[in-house]
């Protein structure tokens, strides 16, 4: 039983499936994210797949600032992802709202709508920086799955 648990723990880090959501980005960050999937960077060698489906995803990559329109969409997508999950916010706009921070329709960074685990700065960030952010997120994912298990056990005890 312990062996299977360890295997699952190892597999979580080895097989992160991404979901990429563009809040209101200028597409600069999105092009850099998609560049990670090309033969030059080839993130599939880490087992990373662009899942395109919140129900299959482990990591949510968000670009662009949040506005009143897409806040609900973002929260909906986040709610549809099964635990354990992490959110990586890519680019200046996603982190803080960027140059659109003072615009009347922008709420600010992604963390105004959903909890964010990793912030990747840059306008746009390099693909290397995005991969670095995702790898950092994997560490958090492993940590979260530990906590998740503890939560379940605590609930069971109650």
């Amino acid at each position: 039983m312990q062996a299977i648990k360890n295997l699952i723990k190892k597999s979580r880090i080895k097989s992160p499936w991404l979901l990429h959501y563009d809040c209101s980005s200028c597409n600069g960050c999105d092009i850099e994210i998609l560049a990670c999937l090309t033969p030059l960077y080839d993130v599939e060698r880490f087992g990373i797949i662009n899942a395109g489906n919140p129900k299959h995803a482990d990591i949510l990559l968000v670009t662009g600032g949040v506005n009143n329109r897409n806040k609900h969409v973002l929260q909906n997508i986040y709610a549809q992802m099964p635990d354990p999950k992490v959110v990586v916010c890519v680019g200046a706009c996603g982190n803080t709202g960027g140059i659109f921070r003072d615009a009347y329709n922008i709420l600010g960074g992604v963390d105004k709508a959903i909890p964010v685990d990793v912030y990747v700065p840059g306008c746009p960030p390099k693909p290397e920086a995005i991969i670095d952010g995702v790898v950092k997120a994997l560490g958090i994912l492993a940590e979260k799955s530990e906590n998740l298990k503890n939560c379940v056990e605590q609930e069971d005890d109650r």
Binding site: S15, E44, G47, G52, N53, H56
Partner: protein, 289 residues
């Protein structure tokens, strides 16, 4: 029937088949990556994916979905079991069909439009490959005089030599079953395309893992049926399977996804005429000799 050797064969088949299926899926992904000029994931990647999915929290739309995922797995395992016990080809075919039908039912039980379209496309795919599989089995019967795998294995010559065109027809069915291009129309290879993941869209976590494991069983079963075509020697069998699978991967990388209309007309048109020529040739041969 329930001899010790049969029980051992059954247990080995149930345990080894998914391991082999996962390994083949891993090699497939590596080879695909190399063909695209990428380094590719580790060969054990499909196992990592499945174990990760098993460890995720359960999220389901409705109970029907979960039930259907289990039936899909059970039918795939039973058909592999029947194959390992050298049972009847037609029986295996019917058991396999039950699983595919339930996969489509499970997908159409959810309100998601992607899942719905995927389910309908899955049914069209079944409509395409099932008559061809029946034609393949009937042709095997035509040559060996039996549907029993036991009798087919005792046939002295490789069946491939009598049925080369029928093997191509089986290739169509294999491509559809493997969900590879140009026939990956019910679940697209990549989730970020027009129907997301088609029939698999609404399955998540452990239930998706069940379907993935069932898929490995199914692939191994169809490869096993391919193997029947050169059952007289191990080297011939391995060569045939390796060439077949390599051809699948190359075709997968060369072509784009077809529409269901093209698939239905092309696969039926070409498949049934190939089968017709092969059987007509065999029939004429009987009179010559």
């Amino acid at each position: 029937m329930f001899t010790v050797s049969n029980i051992i064969i059954a247990i080995l088949a149930v345990i080894l088949t998914p391991l082999l299926g996962g390994l083949i899926a891993g090699l497939d992904r590596k080879l695909t990556a190399r063909l695209q000029g990428r380094y590719g994931p580790p060969i054990l990647q499909p196992f990592y994916d499945v174990f990760k999915l098993l460890g995720k929290s359960k999220m389901m739309v409705n109970g029907t979905q979960v039930f259907c995922a289990w039936i899909y797995l059970i039918s795939a395992v039973s058909s592999v079991l029947l194959f390992a016990l050298r049972s009847d080809l037609l029986m295996i075919f019917f058991v396999l069909t039950i699983g595919s039908v339930f996969l489509a039912i499970g997908a159409s039980s959810t309100p998601s439009p992607y899942s719905q379209i995927g389910a309908q496309r899955e049914l069209i795919q079944m409509l395409t490959y099932e008559p061809l599989l029946i034609v393949v089995f009937v042709s095997i019967y035509f040559v060996t005089g039996s549907f029993k795998i036991d009798d087919i294995l005792s046939y002295p010559r490789p069946i491939f030599l009598s049925l080369p065109l029928i093997y191509l027809v089986l290739g169509f069915a294999l491509t559809i079953k493997l969900r590879k291009s140009p026939f990956d129309i019910s679940t697209s290879h990549h989730g970020h395309q027009e129907i997301v993941k088609g029939v698999l869209t609404e399955y998540s976590g452990p239930h998706l893992a069940l379907i993935e494991i069932a898929h490995w069983y199914e692939i191994m079963l169809v490869l096993g049926i391919c193997g029947l075509f050169w059952s007289t020697s191990w080297i011939g069998l391995l060569l045939l399977l390796i060439v077949t699978y390599a051809a699948e991967v190359v075709v997968d990388n060369l072509v784009t996804r077809a529409t269901w209309r093209w698939m239905l007309t092309y696969v039926w048109g070409v498949g049934i005429s190939l089968a017709f020529f092969n059987i007509a040739f065999l029939y004429a041969n009987r009179f010559v000799n």
